[in-house]
């Protein structure tokens, strides 16, 4: 089962990468009100159900993929 994890800098946390990206986009002439840079992890998960896959990936996020002090995560399971 294909599962995608989106890891984002938590709201309210300074994101210097995002700020640099925003500044560069503005220099290119784009009108950008904000930019935040996170991380995307595509996973192939062995699980009997979508529900189970999601539960597994949630554990992966808590134990490794995201640092709860500074990052939030979102899990998307691709439709079978």
């Amino acid at each position: 089962m294909k599962v995608t994890v989106l890891v984002r800098p938590k709201a309210g946390i300074l994101d210097p990468q995002g700020e640099a990206v925003q500044g560069s986009l503005r220099k290119l002439g784009f009108s950008v009100g904000g930019a935040r840079v996170g991380r995307l992890v595509d996973l192939e998960v062995d699980a009997p159900s979508t529900h189970e896959a999601k539960a597994q990936v949630e554990r992966m996020c808590r134990e490794l993929l995201a640092n709860p002090l500074i990052e939030s995560f979102e899990i998307e399971v691709a439709d079978a």
Binding site: L14, P16, Q17, A20, L64, L65, N67, L69, I70
Partner: protein
């Protein structure tokens, strides 16, 4: 009788300050032993552990995030839980934070630059074995060299650490955007300490400031005391 206490210096794939750390500890009277990350046990009679700087496991995912699964880390946990002194320098600090042995996390420097220079530091706490040779408020000059050294804790955690006296070392001038200009923190039991500056690069006055020796010699003192206590 002079005793050279054994100090384990861990080596991860990507560590690059392990030999400098071992050299500095040797110069300060210890018997440093390099220990490969895949080992599951520390050398016999290990009295302190140093996690050196570098880029363990290529800094993949987040700095230190993968190293915490190294087999030797179980031995580090056991050693620190029993009160053994553990020092993390730079990447070693990042590993200890990711492993949950130290509070907070190290993030990308605020200005996104790799910072490599001598920085002035202020010793906030002398009630740790690592700062036992320093005076409260003493200023030390020790080099930093990192891209991800901006220490972060949310307000609640920061207050808690301040109250419990775990914020041991601060930058005496703006450096990398660390919350509260924190450069080094210890655990609640005060036997685990991590810092971004590199004391092992500031030991021989021939190469610049020698203030790093104050921190490392204190670690050697503590290790030596344990050797005597065990005898």
């Amino acid at each position: 009788m002079s005793v050279r206490p054994r100090i384990a210096v861990l080596v991860f794939p990507g560590s690059n300050d392990d030999r400098d750390a071992a050299w500095a500890l040797g110069a300060l009277g210890a018997d440093p032993q390099l220990v490969w990350h895949a080992e599951s046990e520390l050398p016999r009679d290990t009295e302190a552990i140093v996690l050196p700087g570098g880029f363990s496991y290529g800094d993949y995912l987040r700095c230190g995030a993968i190293a915490r699964f190294a087999p030797i880390l179980d031995a580090v946990r056991e050693f620190s839980a029993a009160g053994g002194p553990v020092l993390g320098i730079c990447n070693g600090f990042q590993i200890l934070c990711e492993a949950g042995l130290l509070p907070g996390v190290l993030r990308r420097n605020r200005d996104l630059e790799f910072i490599c220079r001598d920085v002035p530091l202020r010793v906030e706490r002398t009630d740790t074995l690592f700062t036992a040779r320093c005076e409260a408020g003493q200023e030390l000059t020790i080099p930093v060299k990192h891209g991800e050294g901006s220490w972060y804790a949310d307000e609640e955690l920061y207050e808690e650490l301040e109250t419990s006296g775990q914020l041991v070392l601060r930058y005496a001038e703006d450096c990398n955007g660390s919350v509260g200009d924190v450069a080094g923190v210890c655990n609640e039991a005060r036997n685990v300490f991590g810092l971004m500056p590199h004391p092992e690069h500031a030991v021989d006055p021939l190469l610049g400031p020698g203030d790093g020796a104050l921190l490392l010699a204190a670690l050697v003192d503590a290790a030596r005391e344990r050797t005597f206590a065990a005898a």
